[in-house]
Amino acid sequence: MRVRKSLTAVAVALVAALAAAGCGGSGSGDSGKKTVTMWIYPVIFDEAKHRAFWDETVKAFQAQHPDIQVKTEIFPWANRDQALATAIAGNKGPDVVYLIPDQLPKYARNIEPVDAYLDDAAKSDYLDNVVKSVTIDGKMMGAPILTSAVTMMCNKKVFEAVGQTTYPATWNDLLTMAPAFKAKGYDVTAYPGDVKNTLNQTFYPLLWQAGGDVFSPDGKSVAFNSDAGRKALTFVKQLVDGGYVDKTLLTTLPPTEQTRIAQNKVACLWHSAPQEVEQFWGKENIKVLPPLTETKQIGYGTVGSLAMLKGAKDKKAAGEWIAYASGADVTKKYDTASSFFSPKKSAGTLFAGDPVLGEQEKYVGVTTVGPLHEKARDVQGVLAPEIQAALLGKKSVDQALSDAAKAADALLG
């Protein structure tokens, strides 16, 4: 009997403990203090430096706002959407999170616009294309803190080895010089066709350069199944069929160090940042060029912003933090440390003396963040395999784009 009573007591205690654990939350911090939690990602590659930057920034903020406690959590880039979406669904999301335009439409219904938390001077200090890239239905969904520009870049060593003295400015330039590179065992460029790559950096820049777009102006249908789309895909297919690019990259996504890019066998890239190839090419061998031109000159660039979630515990406190962290002084330090560019007019150029970043910075104005559409990623999901099919010769260019458009339009309803 005694044993049974003890067992019952243990079971009751266990259930009570489980219930208590289940009911207990993460707590709201010290009593009387407002807490703001921010999720950010490895924008500064060196985690220790990144952590130190935010610790210092939070300390400076708290000197001005002693009643607000800020917790910054640095998450890995991988699977960040899954983590964020499930946290939001479980009402465990952060108050503030770093988002890029590609993500904003998906989370729009969970985001508190920041217009009311930024003063007019701060808002008017943003570059026009930057404001446009975070605005949905006339409201700013995040406070931009950085921008980037993915331009054309070439490997000087490869050009010297081939004896090529001019650099490509147009698609035709690339196609014209491709045989010379091939003859010497080099690829004129690379096309990452694996479906895990974002089309924002691979196919869409070509589509935009050809004068096309992903969605129709009203967003109710896709627009890539057009003359511009066919022109762009035909251009890539010419590169593939001519043997001017490494076919392995059409279907696989190996680490850069295992590719011909790292082996200094590729002449130019339009989809990578200089930081990705610097250790293989050497900074002195990187020649930064403007985005390619066909009908128009345009490249991809992103805008990183701090967005407030609707579930924020204290919106005023979160707004104070966003206004501070997206201020000109903080972003200037952050962008310099992370090798990104400033979204602010007042910041001017951050890398004037840098032969690589300084050159790239010049082209921030000719970049776009890609389509701000709720189904942008879903559409990429149906278009990328069709592009792959065309490049592998499984479908014609027309058929691939037509099939992709049919599937994409079905997604848009």
Binding site: R4, L7, T8, A11, L14, V15, D81, Q82, A85, T86, I88, A89, K106, Y107, R109, N110, D194, V195, K196, T248, L250, T251, T252, L253, P254, R377, D378, G381, V382, P385, Q388, A389, L392, K394, D403, K406, A407, A410
Partner: protein
């Protein structure tokens, strides 16, 4: 096996290999008191709660979500059969279904043959047999993610598999990058990871087969093949039926190795139904549609299991 009987004990037969509940044991069994039932329930309760919270509940929620337009972080509205109509019109779904069925058709027989072969090889007692059994079982307890990473390298263009094929005069290429060869590559990895489990099931059954049966066949002059065909195989039938169901279900649920090794490519040649479910649910956050895909997969699994029951398991 211990039998806890709360009602009249059914007739038991030792010939069928089921434990016999002896008369004295039956006398000891009685209807438990309310207090005892309460205590028993208390012990069962944590497990029951976990089952309801993490198995039954989500399954019911999954069925219901299939009839809504729920997206993560959004509201859910009842949309009736819209998701299923979309499924019928979705070429990606049909392509994923085709890939899944082909995968199952290739992997289930291959895995069962490998399991049976290994079980027969390790059935006899010889020096080191336990070590061999453990080695063959090792892939079952190896992380599929880890295995996927390693096999991605194995099947790479300049990897060992490509070199092996080259030695046989076949084109040295990455199987994972070829839309025709990618599925056989995934099948091989899947069979490698699963055959140890089947081997264990069949081995357990093989060891239950009375030695007298084989000895009698041997004394009647039956060859090794005849003994296998007319003595061993019929005795293995229940275990093979069980294994066929399990293997088929696991094949329909293939995801980990596809996620790690191919991402469904190239050209959707390894894009399975569960991969589509994952993409819809956790990449595009369209949980309503993802649940509809899940329901379709469930229905398909049940239908195939019933067909297997009617054919393979008819006599059991």
């Amino acid at each position: 096996m211990t039998l806890l009987l709360v009602g009249p004990a059914p007739a038991r037969s030792s010939e069928k290999g089921v434990d016999v509940v002896t008369l004295s044991a039956r006398r000891r069994l009685r209807r438990p008191s309310l207090r005892e039932a309460g205590t028993a329930l208390l012990f069962v309760l944590p497990c029951l709660l976990l089952f309801v919270a993490f198995r039954f509940g989500p399954a019911v929620a999954g069925v219901l979500l299939g009839f809504t337009d729920y997206t993560i972080g959004g509201d859910a509205s009842w949309v009736g059969l819209d998701n299923f109509r979309r499924l019928i019109d979705d070429p990606t779904f049909w392509s994923a279904l085709k890939v899944t069925v082909i995968f199952a058709l290739l992997s289930v027989p291959l895995s069962m043959v490998a399991s049976l072969g290994m079980a027969l090889l390790t059935r006899r007692v010889f020096r080191g047999v336990k070590l061999f059994r453990s080695i063959f079982f090792l892939p079952v307890v190896t992380s599929l993610i880890l295995a996927g990473v390693v096999f991605t390298w194995v099947f790479a263009e300049h990897g060992p598999w490509s070199r092996l094929m080259g030695a046989f005069g076949l084109p040295a290429q990455s199987w994972l990058a070829d839309s025709t060869l990618v599925l056989p590559a995934i099948v091989l990895v899947s069979v490698w990871s699963r055959f140890g489990y089947g081997m264990l099931i069949l081995l357990a059954r093989l060891q239950e087969i009375p030695a007298e049966l084989e000895e009698a066949a041997l004394s009647d002059g039956a060859s090794a093949w005849q003994r296998f065909r007319y003595v061993t195989l019929p005795q293995l039938r229940p275990a093979l039926f069980f294994l066929a169901i399990i293997e088929t279900t696991m094949s329909f649920q293939v995801f980990d190795i596809v996620y790690v090794m191919t991402g469904g490519g190239p050209v959707r040649a390894s894009y399975t139904l569960v991969y589509q479910l994952y993409e819809q649910g956790f990449r595009y956050f369209d949980l309503g549609y993802a649940s509809a895909v899940g329901l379709a997969l469930f229905v398909m699994t049940v239908i195939v299991a019933l067909i297997q029951r009617l054919t393979l398991g008819r006599e059991e």
